[in-house]
């Protein structure tokens, strides 16, 4: 009469069913995409798959990824070291420099770089300095690196702060110099942080559409858009999406293999002491110059360019559009934030309270939605909705749903960590006081998740606000968000018209990034 063991350990249905639904919602459209891409005539499929063009697109994508990895590493390592280990003044400010570019969407950075050069660019008009407009590979490299390096910086910074000082002291006592210690002890120990940061950056480069499209550098993502939107070649677009997804899978597997067995724990007992600060000495002025250059590129140039173009005069029609665009952006981002938090709660709950292989797999689906390049995900949703639920095609509901699934991973993290702090005993206490399981959760655990929910929802809201490619493919006709406006005007070279929209996005972004990090710093 006893139930099988796995059945008794099953999470309550009201958490399990939504989680399974999310898993299906992510995976079914992707499966559909694969079927559509490969399901056609065999010779046609192979022709599309082995087109010479694909090789060029593939190389463009890979070379951009490698370039961005190199540049962000060169920027993030020194900055993370300076902000944690050196005696440089104002470390908090330096950390902020490393965080704020998170607020910059790729297309705004690209816009700023484009608006800078050329014969009518900011430099030419203000300083009389005429440089050719930076476009193509180098333009893309600069733009993408500038907005993605914070992901690596934050990981490395956390890594530096988490290191056990005694390993370095041990090396010193064994006669190693500072530089040798950095090379042989510190950097090897930072490898997990480095890989984690690089993974996120790689996913961003693979999925980036805004920056590369403005720079006219044809990567797989950009080409997918062209095939879909301009050539109306849906099958070829699906093939490109498939190649993109395959690369993503390879990257994820590679990351998993590299990280396996790489988790370094603090072996000894006792609390880690605070790390000694290194004196900068002769390097001081070089460090200041380095930080100054980052400030110049990641903050001053974008803001200055936007303000300059804005001062050139914007037609009143554009100003009239601004209100609409803000309203549209908020109208889709806010429900997406709420929805993704609602999805994150059951997933996080199952992962924390019922850890098992099943709950682990369910959680992976959330990350799958995040890792899938946005254009590929959007295309999968288009195929799926057109064939299975045509009523949903080009509706607000589908767009919001796609946002929520794509950014779900950003909401899960904060919800999960606040859930870890809420003891399961609290729910049991509530049950022993006469509440059923669900009510016990609502009354005892949910109030403690408040902080995590706010942070998670803010992350998603911010990301959805800046989002471009999914919006392009899935938005109902006539929905022009801030992001769409910035991109469309910039793509036409109408920098002045793009400026108010870019500034609005910047304003929202800085506001939210500020809130999020001030919360983190307090705790």
């Amino acid at each position: 009469m006893r139930l099988p063991y796995f059945l008794r350990k099953l999470p309550p249905w009201y958490f399990l069913l939504p989680s399974v639904f999310i898993g299906l919602a992510v995976s079914i459209p992707l499966v559909y995409l694969i079927i559509r891409a490969l399901g056609g005539d065999f010779s046609e499929t192979t022709e599309l798959l082995f087109r010479q063009r694909n090789l060029v697109l593939f190389w463009n994508t890979v070379s951009l990824t490698l370039g961005v990895v190199v540049v962000t590493t060169l920027v993030s390592y020194p900055l993370a070291w300076l902000s944690t280990r050196s005696d440089i003044p104002a470390k908090k400010f330096i950390t902020m420099i490393g965080v704020l570019p998170l607020a910059l969407p790729g297309y705004v950075v690209a816009y700023a770089i484009l608006g800078l050069g050329g014969d009518n660019g900011t430099l030419a008009m203000v300083f009389g300095l005429e440089i050719s407009r930076l476009t193509g590979y180098w333009g893309s490299l600069l733009a993408v690196s500038l907005y993605t390096f914070p992901y690596l910086f934050l990981n490395l910074r956390a890594g530096f702060l988490g290191l056990d000082p005694s390993t370095e002291e041990a090396a010193r006592s064994l006669g190693y110099s500072s530089f040798q210690i950095l090379r042989k002890v510190t950097i090897p120990q930072l490898r997990p942080s480095f890989l984690a940061g690089i993974l996120i950056i790689t996913l961003y480069v693979l999925g980036d559409f805004g920056a590369v499209s403005l720079m006219r550098f044809e990567t797989l993502s950009y080409s997918l858009y062209i095939q879909y939107a301009a050539s109306f070649d849906r099958i070829y677009a699906a093939i490109i999406a498939l190649i993109l997804i395959s690369i993503t899978v390879v990257v994820l597997v590679l990351e998993y293999k590299l990280l396996k067995g790489l988790l370094f724990y603090r072996a000894g007992t006792g609390t880690g002491r605070k790390m000694r600060e290194s004196k900068l000495g002769k390097l001081r002025w070089i460090s200041y110059g380095f930080v100054g250059a980052i400030i110049l590129f990641s903050l001053i140039i974008p803001i200055f360019t936007i303000l300059y173009w804005m001062a050139q005069g914007v037609s009143p029609a554009v100003w009239a559009n601004l209100g609409d665009a803000i309203r549209s952006s908020v109208l889709v981002s806010a429900p997406a934030a709420v929805l993704s938090v609602l999805m994150a709660i059951p997933l996080a709950y199952i992962a924390v309270r019922f850890p098992s292989r099943t709950s682990n797999i369910l959680q992976r689906f959330a990350y799958l939605g995040y890792a899938t390049p946005p254009l590929a995900l959007a295309l999968a949703f288009i195929f799926f909705s057109l064939n299975v639920v045509p009523v949903l095609y080009q509706t607000f509901a589908l767009l919001i749903f796609a946002y929520a699934l794509h950014f779900l991973a950003e909401a899960i993290g904060p919800v999960r960590s606040s859930l870890y702090q809420a003891s399961p005993k609290l729910e049991e206490a509530a049950m022993s006081l006469g509440m059923n399981r669900f009510k016990a959760f609502l009354k005892s655990t949910l109030p403690l998740l408040f902080n995590g929910i706010i942070v998670g929802a803010s992350f998603v809201f911010l990301s959805a606000m800046k989002e471009l490619p999914i919006t392009f493919l899935l938005a109902p006709i006539g929905l022009d968000t801030l992001a769409v406006n910035v991109w469309s005007y910039s793509a036409e070279g109408m920098f002045a018209e793009a400026a108010p929209f870019a500034l609005s996005i910047l304003f929202f972004s800085v506001f939210f990034v500020g809130i999020l990090f001030s919360r983190e710093w307090k705790s």
């Binding site: 009469m1 006893r2 008794r8 005993k425 609290l426 206490a429 022993s432 006081l433 006469g434």
Partner: protein
């Protein structure tokens, strides 16, 4: 016999390929009785308590409260329907609620005014009324413990379960809180089951004790019972220091490694006997008593109110507690004299 709580053959497996974590546990609790389950960590005592509360499902056996079946193989009443209060080891107070709101939490069936009234009444009882607007984080460990108890008491459950209730308190606070809790439970005419690994705690708080080893209850009795008349080596050792010897029994007397000794019950053949250190005393060796159990003092622990001697006998050693008026020195020749009969244990394998 109509007892309050009856647990019969309760069994729980965590993994069916391994022995059960709770193994055919049976005991009863009377109205207004405090029952302690005492055992080392990992013996299954907390799991037993969680089965009683309904947080875990049992595999075999049954639980009845006031004649109503709460748990049996084909029935499982949910924790919220059991009318059983639970005090957690780490108290599990809701950090987002004040002391008063915590205590009111389980009173949702009452009207707002009644809830307030009842919560204040119970806070009064535990002497925490003046702290009603504090948050749990602002209280000391002992205060949190009392609020947790108040929260469990407030809905007037039939019985209260307490999981290692004093283990999070420091030594000084532990003793006073222990007395306090016993007083509160008795004053509110409440029955309770508490689990602990601390023998002193069980002996001082409980009316009856069930000693648990490897998922089984090996002995149930009053504190005096289990302390003075342990049934097994395990119980004898777990409830304090003791001396165990192999002996040859014949009736109420036995020949043991420490010589001839009286027994608490008649026995025959090879037995193991236990005698507590305080049931032995030491005498100066004189020509008159040198036929007794002779030995030399090996070590001496002076503990203020008493002294513990480790005495080397012919081919074994024994512990002797004496009061501080018996000043022997290390190396002294002494005679060990039993003050009480030794207890015959049920274990059959002789000591090594």
């Amino acid at each position: 016999m109509d007892c309050l709580l009856r647990v019969t053959n309760l069994t729980k497996y965590f993994d069916f390929n391994e022995p059960p974590i709770v193994d055919k546990v049976s005991f009863t609790v009377e109205q207004e009785e405090i029952f302690a389950i005492l055992g080392p960590s990992g013996c299954g005592k907390t799991t037993t308590l969680r089965l009683l509360a309904g947080f875990e499902r049992s595999d075999e056996g049954s639980i009845q409260l006031k004649g109503q079946t709460l748990e049996c193989p084909y029935n499982h009443i949910n924790p919220e329907k059991r009318g059983i209060g639970f005090v957690f080891q780490d108290y599990a107070l809701f950090p987002h609620l004040t002391v008063l709101e915590n205590v009111m939490f389980g009173l949702q069936k009452l009207s707002r005014g009644e809830r307030n009234h009842r919560a204040l009444e119970i806070l009064e009882l535990i002497g925490m009324k003046s702290f009603k607007d504090r948050k749990p984080q602002e209280l000391s460990g002992g205060q949190q413990q009392r609020v947790a108890l108040a929260r469990a008491l407030a809905p007037r459950p039939e019985i209260i379960l307490m999981d290692e209730p004093f283990s999070n308190l420091d030594a000084v606070l532990r003793e006073s809180t222990r007395n306090e809790v016993r007083k509160i439970l008795k004053a509110s005419k409440m029955s309770a089951v508490l689990v602990t690994h601390d023998q002193e705690e069980a002996l001082s708080v409980a009316d009856r004790i069930g000693v648990m080893e490897n998922g089984r209850i090996v002995q149930i009795g009053t504190p005096e019972d289990v302390y003075y008349r342990p049934k097994t080596k395990f119980v004898a050792n777990f409830l304090g220091r003791t001396n165990l010897f192999n002996a040859q029994a014949s009736g109420l007397e036995a020949q043991s490694t420490i010589g001839s000794i009286m027994l608490d019950r008649p026995a025959r053949g090879n037995v193991i006997i236990s005698i507590r250190p305080e049931h032995l005393t030491l005498e100066q060796t004189t020509p008159a008593n040198c036929g007794g159990i002779c030995g030399t003092v090996l070590t001496r622990e002076f503990k203020g109110h008493d002294i513990t001697y480790n005495v080397k006998l012919k081919d074994c050693a024994c512990l002797v507690h004496t009061d501080n008026r018996m000043p022997f020195a290390v190396g002294d020749n002494v005679v060990v004299r039993p003050l009480e009969p030794a207890v015959v244990l049920e274990d059959e394998t002789p000591l090594q």
